[in-house]
C-alpha cells in the first residue's frame, strides 16, 4: 500500500551531476580519512603483509627462487593478495557491521545521502588501501630485494590486485550485514586467516598438503593470487579467464547475500 504510494510520488532528488559527484567524492574522502586514522585498521591491514614480506621475502629467503621466480618477486604477488584481502574485508565488513548495529547507518539513511554513495565509498576506499599495500610491497621489493619489473608488468600486477579487491569488498558487505558490531572483526579473521593459508598466500602453494591444495581451488584468494603470480611468470599457469570467472561468480554470490541482509535490515528494530 505505502510502497505503491512511494512509487507514484517518488520523484528522485534533483541534483546537478556536479553536486552528486561532490557527495560521492566527500563520502569517499572521509571514509578514507576515517580508516587511515583508525590504528586498528592500518595496523592490521598495512603492517601485517609488509612485516611478513620483510621477514620472509627480504631477510630470510631473498636469494632463493620458487619455480624460476625469485622469492622477493613471488611474495609480492602472494602477500599482495593477502594485503588486498585484509584491506577489503576489514574496510567494508567492520565499518558496516558497526554502523549498522550501533545506529550510525540510520542517521545516514534519514539524511538525503544517496544510499549507493555509502557503499561505493567503502569499495573505493578498500581499493585505495589495496593499492597502497601493493605499491609499498613493490617499493620494498625493488629497494631491498633486487626485484626488477618491466613497467607494463608492474602496472598489470597492481591493477589486477586492486581490481581483485572487489570480490573481497563484496564478501565484506555480506559479512557486515550478518555479523554484529563486535563479532565482525573476529568473524573476518576466522575467514581471512585460514583462507589465506589454504590459498598458498603464506606458504607457497606447491608446499601445501594435497588436501589443502584441493580445497584451495574453491577459494577466491587462490584465484586472485594465481592471476598475480601469472603476471610475474610463476604460479600454476591455469586459464586466466577461469580465474576471473570464479572471482566474478564469488562476487555475485556475495552481493546477493549482502542484498538479503540489506532487505532484512530495512525492517529491523535497533535499540
Amino acid at each position: 500500500m505505502s510502497s505503491t504510494a512511494a512509487v507514484l510520488s517518488n520523484p528522485r532528488i534533483k541534483r546537478s551531476p556536479g553536486h552528486t559527484a561532490t557527495i560521492y567524492l566527500k563520502e569517499a574522502k572521509y571514509e578514507f580519512l576515517k580508516n587511515l586514522r583508525l590504528r586498528m585498521y592500518t595496523a592490521s591491514v598495512l603492517s601485517f603483509p609488509l612485516m611478513f614480506y620483510v621477514l620472509f621475502g627480504l631477510v630470510l629467503n631473498s636469494k632463493e627462487a620458487i619455480g624460476g621466480t625469485g622469492v622477493p618477486t613471488y611474495l609480492i604477488a602472494t602477500y599482495g593478495t593477502f594485503g588486498v584481502m585484509g584491506a577489503s574485508l576489514f574496510g567494508t565488513a567492520a565499518g558496516l557491521a558497526s554502523d549498522r548495529g550501533l545506529g550510525w547507518l540510520q542517521v545516514k539513511r534519514a539524511s538525503p545521502m544517496p544510499p549507493f554513495a555509502y557503499f561505493a565509498a567503502k569499495v573505493v576506499v578498500s581499493m585505495a588501501f589495496s593499492a597502497i599495500v601493493v605499491l609499498l610491497l613493490i617499493v620494498l621489493g625493488i629497494a631491498f630485494g633486487g626485484v626488477r619489473f618491466p613497467l607494463g608488468e608492474m602496472s598489470k600486477l597492481v591493477s589486477t590486485l586492486v581490481f581483485g579487491s572487489i570480490p573481497f569488498s563484496a564478501m565484506g558487505l555480506a559479512v557486515g550485514y550478518f555479523a554484529g558490531p563486535n563479532s565482525a572483526p573476529p568473524t573476518i579473521n576466522l575467514i581471512y586467516l585460514p583462507m589465506s593459508f589454504c590459498s598458498g598466500l603464506w606458504v607457497p602453494f606447491m608446499f601445501l598438503p594435497k588436501v589443502v591444495r584441493q580445497i584451495a581451488l574453491a577459494l577466491p584468494p587462490y584465484h586472485l593470487s594465481q592471476l598475480a603470480l601469472g603476471i610475474v611468470g610463476a604460479g600454476n599457469h591455469e586459464s586466466i579467464a577461469g580465474h576471473w570467472e570464479v572471482l566474478t561468480a564469488f562476487t555475485l554470490i556475495c552481493l546477493g547475500v549482502a542484498r538479503i541482509g540489506f532487505q532484512r535490515d530495512q525492517d529491523k528494530m535497533y535499540g
Partner: protein, 346 residues
C-alpha cells in the same frame, strides 16, 4: 477538567487535504480545529507537515504502536513524552521512513516519508551507539552538509550548536554533551524545515541540557517545525507548544504543557497514623492509599485539604511528608484515566 483525550486531540485535522494545499478545505479544517481545541491558538491555519493516521507497528510479538493518530503542524514544537519503550522512537523512525507501518498511513509534507526528496527538507537527531570517532567535528558537518541543496554555512552550524571551539577535535575525543551537540549540528546543517529530535538531551548534565534547549529555542524562532521525544516532563514543558503523552504504544493524553502538568501534578503524602486504610480512603480527594512498611502512602491531586483532614482525624499523626509524584506515577495516572474513560464509553 478540560477534555484531553487522545481521540479529541487527534480528530482535528484533515491532514491530507491540508497537505495537498487546497486552501478551501484547509480553512474549514482549521475552523473545526479551533472550535474543538481551545489551546490551538498557535497552530491555527498551519498546514500539517507530519502525521500518523491509525498507525500500528509490530516488531514480531512486540506491539510498538497500536493505532496512533498524531499530527505536527508547521511552525510548532510538539513533544512526544513517554517512558522508555513507549513507542516514541518507533514513531520517529516511521516518520523518517526508516521503517514501515503494519497498518495506517504515515505522511511527511503530505507525501510518503521514504520519498528521498522529502529528506532534503527534514533533519534528524537520533540515538546513536557509535559515530565514526576518527573524523573531526567539522569533517562530519562538511559531509552531511554536502547531502543538502542549500546547507547552512559551516560557521553558522558551528555557532548554532556551540561547537566553534571544538570543530577540529575528533569525535572520539568529545564528552557526552559535545557529542550530542555534533548530532544536533548534523540534524540542522541542511537547513531543514522539519526537525526530528529523538531524546536530544538523554544522558546530559543539567548545564548541557539547558544549553541544548536554548539552541532548540533559537531554531524555533527561525520558524522551524520540531518534533521532539523525551521522557522528561520538564523538557517537554520547557520547549513544546503541545505535548502528546505516549505509553505502551498508545497516546494516552495530549494538550498544552499546562494542561498536561495539571493532569500529572499529583502529590504523595506519607505518614504514620493510627487511622485505618478505609478511614483514609474516605477522605475526599484521596485517589489511592496503601501501606508501605509502618507508614501509609496516599496519592492525591491536591495535598493541602487531605493533610488538613488527616491532622484533624488523628492528632497523633507523625512523620508527615509531602512530595510531588514522579513522572512514572503521572504516566500511571494518565493511563488509568484513559482506561476509565474507555470503560465509560463502552
Amino acid at each position: 477538567m478540560m477534555p484531553l483525550l487522545a481521540e479529541k486531540f487527534v480528530g482535528l485535522t484533515t491532514g491530507r487535504e491540508e497537505a495537498e494545499g487546497q486552501s478551501g478545505s484547509e480553512n474549514m479544517a482549521s475552523i473545526t480545529t479551533f472550535e474543538q481545541r481551545p489551546f490551538a491558538v498557535s497552530t491555527v491555519a498551519a498546514p500539517t507537515v507530519a502525521s500518523l493516521e491509525s498507525v500500528t507497528k509490530n516488531y514480531g510479538q512486540i506491539r510498538a504502536l497500536r493505532g496512533v493518530d498524531f499530527n505536527v503542524h508547521s511552525g510548532e514544537v510538539v513533544a512526544l513524552l513517554g517512558p522508555n519503550g513507549a513507542g516514541k522512537t518507533t514513531a520517529v523512525k516511521l516518520l523518517l521512513g526508516l521503517t514501515q507501518p503494519n497498518s495506517g498511513k504515515v505522511r511527511i509534507f503530505g507525501g510518503d516519508p521514504t520519498n528521498p526528496a522529502n529528506r532534503t527538507r527534514t533533519g534528524a537527531m537520533l540515538q546513536v551507539g557509535k559515530v565514526p570517532e576518527t573524523l573531526r567535528v567539522r569533517e562530519h558537518i562538511d559531509l552531511f552538509s554536502s547531502y543538502y541543496r542549500n546547507p547552512l554555512p559551516l560557521a553558522e552550524v558551528l555557532a548554532a550548536a556551540g561547537l566553534e571551539k571544538i570543530s577540529d577535535r575528533k569525535f572520539g575525543d568529545l564528552s557526552g554533551g559535545q557529542r550530542q551537540r555534533v548530532l544536533f549540528a548534523l540534524a540542522i546543517c541542511g537547513n531543514p524545515d522539519l526537525l526530528f529530535l529523538d531524546e536530544p538531551t538523554v544522558g546530559l548534565d543539567v548545564e548541557s541540557r539547558r544549553a541544548l534547549w536554548e539552541e532548540i529555542r533559537a531554531l524555533v524562532h527561525r520558524g522551524k517545525t520540531v518534533l521532539l521525544t523525551t521522557h522528561y516532563l520538564e523538557e517537554a514543558d520547557a520547549l513544546a507548544d503541545r505535548i502528546a503523552v505516549i505509553n505502551q504504544g498508545a497516546i494516552v493524553a495530549a494538550g498544552t504543557p499546562d494542561e498536561i502538568k495539571a493532569k500529572t501534578s499529583g502529590k504523595r503524602i506519607r505518614c504514620s497514623t493510627g487511622l485505618s486504610l478505609a478511614a483514609v480512603r474516605r477522605i475526599p480527594g484521596v485517589a489511592e492509599v496503601h501501606e508501605d512498611r509502618d507508614a501509609l502512602e496516599i496519592h492525591t491531586s491536591r495535598a493541602e485539604p487531605v493533610v488538613r483532614e488527616l491532622l484533624a482525624l488523628d492528632p497523633t499523626l507523625s512523620g508527615l511528608e509531602v512530595t510531588s509524584a514522579g513522572l512514572e506515577e503521572a504516566f500511571l495516572a494518565l493511563t488509568q484515566d484513559n482506561n476509565k474513560n474507555e470503560s465509560k464509553e463502552n
